[in-house]
């Protein structure tokens, strides 16, 4: 009872500070994100190119999603292409990355493993992430250049592994696999550190208690580490997912010159080129594609959070029950 009235007094006298602390965030977010978001929705109802000021209703969505006449069919086909490219590239780098990172994080935080030089490994594994994507793209394009002047192709030809040059940059599967590898190379260290910081946030005495009770390594990982890691793991999954859907730098930059490889063009590249290229000026298609991307992200995101909240509620309930007991 005493506790409760204390809480009430606190909520009366300090509430305004809560608003003061969160005000800058919401102010800036409203101007630089909310308004642009609504502006994007608004633009998606207007035309493309020369008809940019013409209100067309849901025409852009209809074109992108279902096609129609000759010009519309082309727009539809390229939209479907960039959408599937995005999902292929996302899966291709996300799956190996999360598995690798989880294993590494478990190893790094395992006090019973004797690994000399842990600190150095962590620093080195995170390093590719610090390398600017534009620089990494430039490096890989030069190394894997399609022509025989490219370092890797030159080497393969010289040693007789291939008789023809391989199109690492302009090819279909070759370029996709390359981007998946580069993305994994750049991001696994980052993901590992995020997961590690979560594992290390787990109360060490839990592991001590478990090992005194005779719990094995594997048992500790699955019964303590993974369940308690859930918030950070969820965070990692969600941010990786968002990152995957908005993958732009590597697909946009890992190309021959300025010509975009059609097989690695992601939805983010498509959106950017359509509104930023003044020769296209396709604000309508670009905005409509953005809205579709928004819907996809929202659905995936809310599924993720529904799972999490459900478990949160269960935990809270069981906590309340234990308090009552």
């Amino acid at each position: 009872m005493a506790n409760r009235s204390g809480g009430r007094i606190r909520s009366i006298s300090y509430a305004k500070y809560g608003y003061i602390f969160i005000l800058p965030f919401f102010l800036v977010y409203a101007i630089f994100q909310i308004y642009p978001l609504f502006n994007t929705f608004y633009l998606s109802f207007f035309g493309n190119g020369k008809k940019i000021d013409e209100f067309v209703g849901f025409e852009n969505f209809k074109t992108l999603l279902f096609g129609g006449g000759f010009a519309q069919q082309a727009a539809h086909d390229s939209f479907i292409r960039v959408l599937s490219n995005t999902f292929i590239l996302w899966f291709g780098n996300f799956i190996p990355q999360i598995i690798l990172s989880l294993v590494l994080a478990a190893w790094f935080t395992n006090a019973r493993l004797k690994i000399p030089g842990k600190g150095a490994y962590k620093i080195i594994m995170y390093m590719p992430n610090i390398i600017t994507a534009a620089s990494a793209a430039a490096l890989f394009v030069m190394l894997f250049s399609d022509s025989q002047l490219g370092a890797i192709n030159a080497m393969l030809l010289k040693n007789g592994f291939t008789t023809e040059t391989i199109s690492f940059v302009s090819g279909k599967t070759e370029a996709r696999v390359m981007i998946m590898i580069i993305q994994t190379w750049m991001w696994y260290g980052n993901t590992t550190i995020m997961l590690m910081s979560g594992i290390m946030g787990i109360n060490g005495s839990l592991f001590e208690a478990a090992s005194i009770d005779g719990a094995s390594h594997t048992q500790q990982f699955f019964r303590i580490t993974l369940p308690l890691l859930r918030p950070i793991l969820l965070y990692t999954v969600v941010t990786s997912m968002i990152g995957g859907l908005q993958m732009y730098d590597m697909p946009a930059l890992y190309n021959v010159g300025t010509s975009q490889n059609k097989f690695t063009e992601t939805i983010a590249v498509y959106i950017f080129n359509n509104f930023h290229d003044t020769s296209l000026n396709n604000f309508g298609y670009s905005a409509a594609a953005s809205v579709i991307l928004f819907v996809i992200t929202s659905v995936l995101g809310s599924v993720c959070f529904a799972i999490n909240r459900d478990k949160d509620v269960k935990v809270k309930k069981s906590k309340k029950t234990s308090k009552l007991l």
Partner: protein, 294 residues
């Protein structure tokens, strides 16, 4: 029993230890090799690179390559000027990091420490908008910025850093697990005002989270190619960020000297690598400190 076993383990490495260490060394080599090859190629002649492919042995041509590259920038053959790029990227990245960490910390603190009517909706909002990718708003953002004449300006690249929902989410998670609210009450009893409590007690206690997030924010901003290339439409050489400059090398097919190209890419990553090695100890320590000690 357990104690005895532990001692035995300590004196002799187990097979698992060796396997794990080997895996880690392999991964480290894979992580480093592209960067090593870049540095090596920056020291080789163009003829050597195109003729012999990848080599792990450095050449002697580094200064000649850098000279060629500087000559390119001086004669305007390519819009790559490492020094200007460093300054431009640093201005944006440092401002963004500072704003992100400070205001995300403040927002998380506000949501965590205080009880107010809109607390629930405010936090739910932050969780919801975490899902919104930049690309979704960029058409509207770009159109809005051109309308109010803020293209070719750094402000649209810096100010939005104040509102970083993902960082708020992370900070709040961290605060919930390792920032006891009793401390705030104790500070109040000792006569500290709310802002002083935030700056002198909460921030120092939250240092690991701030450090990790600051590094992530800095990396994200420094590496950002999307936003600068969207906002800096005129591609003014004295305004471009480093990633934009590197891209001009790649898209310029008139540059024939491969050694000099590699040297230019190498120069573009040197400052980040140096900054990283200063900060990396901090990040690893920060992560290590992140463990909740009772």
């Amino acid at each position: 029993m357990n104690m005895v076993e532990e001692k035995v383990n300590r004196s002799k490495p187990k097979p698992l230890d060796i396997i794990v260490t080997a895996c880690m060394i392999i991964l480290c080599v894979l992580s480093l090799i592209p960067i090593y090859v870049l540095v090596v190629n920056a020291t080789r002649t163009s003829v050597d690179i195109t003729g012999n492919g990848v080599s792990l042995i450095p050449g002697l041509n580094l200064f000649k390559n850098i000279e060629t590259m500087l000559d390119w920038s001086a004669t305007g053959k390519v819009q790559y000027d490492a020094f200007t790029g460093y300054i431009n990227s640093a201005i944006i990245a440092f401002s963004c990091t500072f704003l992100t960490v400070l205001f995300a910390g403040a927002t998380a603190y506000g949501v965590c420490v205080y009880d107010f009517r809109l607390k629930g909706p405010a936090y739910t909002f932050i969780l919801a908008v975490m899902m919104v990718p930049v690309q979704v708003t960029s058409v509207g953002f770009y159109q809005f910025m051109s309308k109010i004449g803020l293209t070719d300006n750094y402000l649209p690249l810096i100010i939005p850093a104040i509102a970083a929902p993902q960082v708020v989410f992370f900070m709040r998670q961290y605060m919930k697990s390792s920032f006891p609210l009793e401390i705030v009450e104790a500070a109040r009893i000792d006569g500290s005002n709310e802002f002083r409590t935030f700056f002198t007690i909460a921030i120092p206690m939250m240092k690991p989270a701030f450090a990790v997030q600051a590094i992530f924010a800095f990396v994200a901003s420094w590496n950002n190619y999307y936003m600068p290339s969207m906002i800096l439409v005129s591609r003014e050489p004295n305004q471009m960020t480093l990633p934009m400059m590197v891209n001009t090398i790649l898209s310029n097919d008139k540059l024939a000297d491969f050694g000099a190209k590699y040297a230019a890419i190498m120069l573009s990553i040197i400052p980040v690598v140096v900054v990283y090695f200063i900060f990396s100890k901090f990040i690893v320590e920060g992560v290590a400190l992140g463990g909740v000690k009772e």
